[in-house]
Amino acid sequence: MKVTPVNNTHPDILALITTLKMAGITTIILMLIGTPLAWFLAKMQSRAKVFIEALVALPLVLPPTVLGFYLLLLFSPQYLPGQIWQQATGQQLAFSFSAIVIGSVLYSLPFVVQPLQKAFEQLGDDLLEAAAMLGASAFDRFFTIVLPITKASFITAASLGFAHTVGEFGVVLMIGGNIPGETRVLSIALFDHVEAFDYAQAHIISISLVISSLVLLSLIYLLNRPTKNKRINQRGLIDG
């Protein structure tokens, strides 16, 4: 998972590449972890549900630097997680690309889990039960029923997870260490430019971030709009 620095690239382009890699890998991991977690939460009856939901939502309210500070401690060779990582990979976890990916996964988790959980909760049991009676495996049921119906929520979850990770600053600041080509992401590069009075370069990054985020978010809302009709159709189909 190491990003090899390219010497000739402009530092800001390098930061952009690192950012996209970080956000891309984070989103993939988030979808893989977030989907079962959201399903589990949607179907959970126990009272512990509230607690787990609160735990997932925690990054929404905690200052990123708090999360980052604890992660810095945990990732250092002083503590068990950092030690285990170092023994398994031979590399130190703190100040590595892997570290900022793990940090981003935790930090963006609610943005992926919450839309998926909502979608799964709205999904009626009747369809799934019918499919199960007809002999469809759990695997089949997920890919032929759940996924097509909740497709829009999956797109929302993935895009929000991605966009939020791109915009992340505090966590990466704490556990990244500003290493070009590895942990220096756009938001950090932007901060450096502002602090160094390099406002022209800072403006370029800010404007591109604003525009690309706006485009991405608009796309999510665009994609989300027709789905409501689809769900009504689906219900109509069931009712009819």
């Binding site: 990732f75 130190q92 600041l173 500003n178 290493i179 450096d192 602090e195």
Partner: protein, 272 residues
């Protein structure tokens, strides 16, 4: 159920309001001490020293205004001042920002002066360094934490140290760069990085033992201040500055891990 919810919400709002009003009263009490508090914007690295210094010397002064310390990075404070923040004095960690404020006519004329010289130390939170700086840096095969040379004065000096020792080329690809010297200290303290070039004052403050880096390895880290023109409290601000520049206060600052002023020529700040 909804009644319960409304009640819960109402009591929550009540508690919040109660909290807000109580903090308001407290603020008034401390502010009512003198007619106007003195708002001192200070670079984070100097904030602990300033707090201690004020606690010690403030009491001797009659009618000294209640100081309010606003600590942040010099860059952040500079931006805030540029955009109208109402501070009375600005203690920066560098010379560039006070100079810019003077040029922009935001600072009181001739108020710009050096109040402290930063000192660097090589430090490991893992094990005590027993050799000299050069040997320790040469033997280290791992990463090194320094403040970002582009934005932090202490980082710039750390880079000069590495260049002076002809180690910059070997280190430049394995540097962990903190946004300021405080983050570098924190990163080294967490042991997430073995070795760091930190500010000596942080070690003194926290009773850690590092190796002092000789000051001729880098250009002096001048920390300068300005009194801000926008201040409605310029007279009191000037009193504060002369307190800060007094022999006893300067002695205290040196004891707090900053470099000594003597032997360095400065714009006639040191009396005697």
């Amino acid at each position: 159920m909804s009644l319960l919810l409304t009640r819960a919400l109402a009591s929550f709002i009540f508690i919040v309001l109660l909290f807000l009003s109580s903090t308001d009263v407290r603020a008034k009490n401390t502010l009512g001490f003198d007619d106007k508090p003195l708002r001192i914007a200070v670079a984070s690295n100097f904030a602990p020293t300033l707090t201690k210094l004020l606690a010690r010397f403030n009491l001797n002064q009659e009618n000294f205004p209640k100081p309010i310390i606003i600590a942040a990075s010099s860059g952040t404070l500079f931006l805030q001042i540029q955009h109208g923040a109402s501070f009375d004095v600005f203690l920066s960690a560098d010379t560039k920002r006070p100079q810019l404020l003077t040029t922009a006519d935001l600072a009181v004329k001739d108020s710009q002066q050096t109040y402290a010289y930063g000192a660097l130390a090589l430090w490991s939170a893992k094990k005590e360094i027993t050799t000299d700086v050069l040997t320790a840096l040469k033997n280290n095969q791992h990463r090194l934490a320094i403040a970002n040379p582009k934005i932090a004065p202490y980082g710039k000096a750390a880079k000069q140290v590495l260049e002076h020792l002809q180690l910059w080329d070997s280190y430049k690809t394995r540097l962990i760069q903190g946004i300021n010297i405080i983050q570098t200290f924190q990163q080294t303290r967490s042991q997430a990085v073995n070795l760091g070039i930190v500010s000596n004052s942080q070690l003194v403050l926290n009773h850690f033992k590092g190796v002092l880096i000789p000051s001729h390895f880098h250009q002096p880290i001048k920390q300068q201040l300005v009194i801000l023109k926008r201040s409605k409290n310029i007279q009191q601000a000037q009193r504060f500055v002369s307190l800060l520049m007094s022999k006893q206060a300067q002695q205290f600052i040196a004891e707090s891990g900053y470099a000594k002023l003597n032997g360095m020529k400065d714009e006639g700040n040191t009396r005697e």
